[in-house]
Amino acid sequence: MEKATETVKRGHAQMLKGGVIMDVVTPEHARIAEDAGACAVMALERVPADIRADGGVARMSDPGLILEIMESVTIPVMAKCRIGHFVEAQILEAIGVDYIDESEVLTPADEQHHIDKTKFKVPFVCGCRNLGEALRRIAEGAAMIRTKGEAGTGDVVEAVRHARSVIGEIRRINSMRPDELASYAKEIGAPLELVIETAQKGRMTVVNFAAGGVATPADAALMMQLGVDGVFVGSGIFKSGNPAARAKAIVKAVTHYNDPKILAEVSKGLGEAMVGISVTQLPEGERLAVRGW
């Protein structure tokens, strides 16, 4: 019996495909998410919109809270640690979370190094804005990637930018000659073997979700049609007028992302979406996506 193999780590993300992973801050939220059909939850003390509003240093959540959430649902539970904070990751592994998100939504603990994720039994998901960043994270041991978007804004524009960037770059390398791949790998700061492997497969070698700014069923379906494997929804559900209805609608929209009639049906009568902040009005210093190296 062999545990924590690359196949088993990446495979868990493959089981989440076509699904919605929802941020939750209480066991009650977690049950609402599970009832709505979430394929996993992200256990947090505050959703990104509140982290943004509160300011200060954002850290790993209280392990006691994460454990309460783990006990309240049967679906997988993920939790976030700070970029580079491998001790927070050790603690999350010790309590048995199913996936760790080394996340730019929390305040980075290291401005040069990400966690060496190969040292862990628990798999990691990491954010990226482009292919180079994605492949650097995979080289460090990430078993799943998510495009960053701009968390806590309810504005999907950055999620679209990052997904288009990653998927567009994969399309480009797919038609490159080997000598071009070598120079491209250098240009984007990614290991050549991962660039070659990705070019040959014509897709990311791990599962790739979208995140950061998804607030409506249409946003979720947009990301799916752009070519991601699934969607994280952070503040978009529990900062909206009717979380249970919106959560269900987003789950249905991710399954039927190519069916505009069903998308119209599920988008009806959901009440207020989260208020949102336009990313173009966000000062550079308040952007979370630039965190990570």
Binding site: Q14, M15, K17, C39, D259
Partner: protein, 190 residues
Amino acid sequence: MKIGVLALQGDFEEHCVCLKRLGVEAFEIRLPSQLQELDGLIIPGGESTTIGKLATDFDLVDPIRNFARSSPVWGTCGGLVFMARDVGTDQPTLGLIDMVVERNAFGRQVESFEEDLQITGLPGGSFRGIFIRAPRVKQVGSGVRIICKLKDGSIVAVRQGKFLATSFHPELTDDDRVHHYFLDIVSQEN
């Protein structure tokens, strides 16, 4: 041969890739009308609660049961859970196979594992089983044949007539023998 893969959530794409590699037409199934003209159905791995809720909301439960009266169905992991008669929770299931299933029976993700398996009726020696937050079959009715157990006695693959269910994920390997095994069942039924 036309095989449908239930595409509500989970690793349906991986099953489609295996089927295409074997030269079989694969169709993603999200609505009841898409079940027509299929020779067999695969229910992939994924979150069984999510798959069950979406199947209920889009009125797929009875149409799949009707389809299964005359056609083979295979479930992997979450698909095995969805095919069970009893899973010990109130989540919707198809009740196709007379078995009681325990979800997440081996623990959380850090306990997920790979293991070489001996599967009754599968030629070519051992098969690499990938178990991810996997379920196990706790009890089976008299019409159910156990075709694979782990060393500790856990039941991880069963066959009931034209129905097949596995706790593990052949679609995550390059070894197509279990897909072949299912396609043989489909050929015999048609």
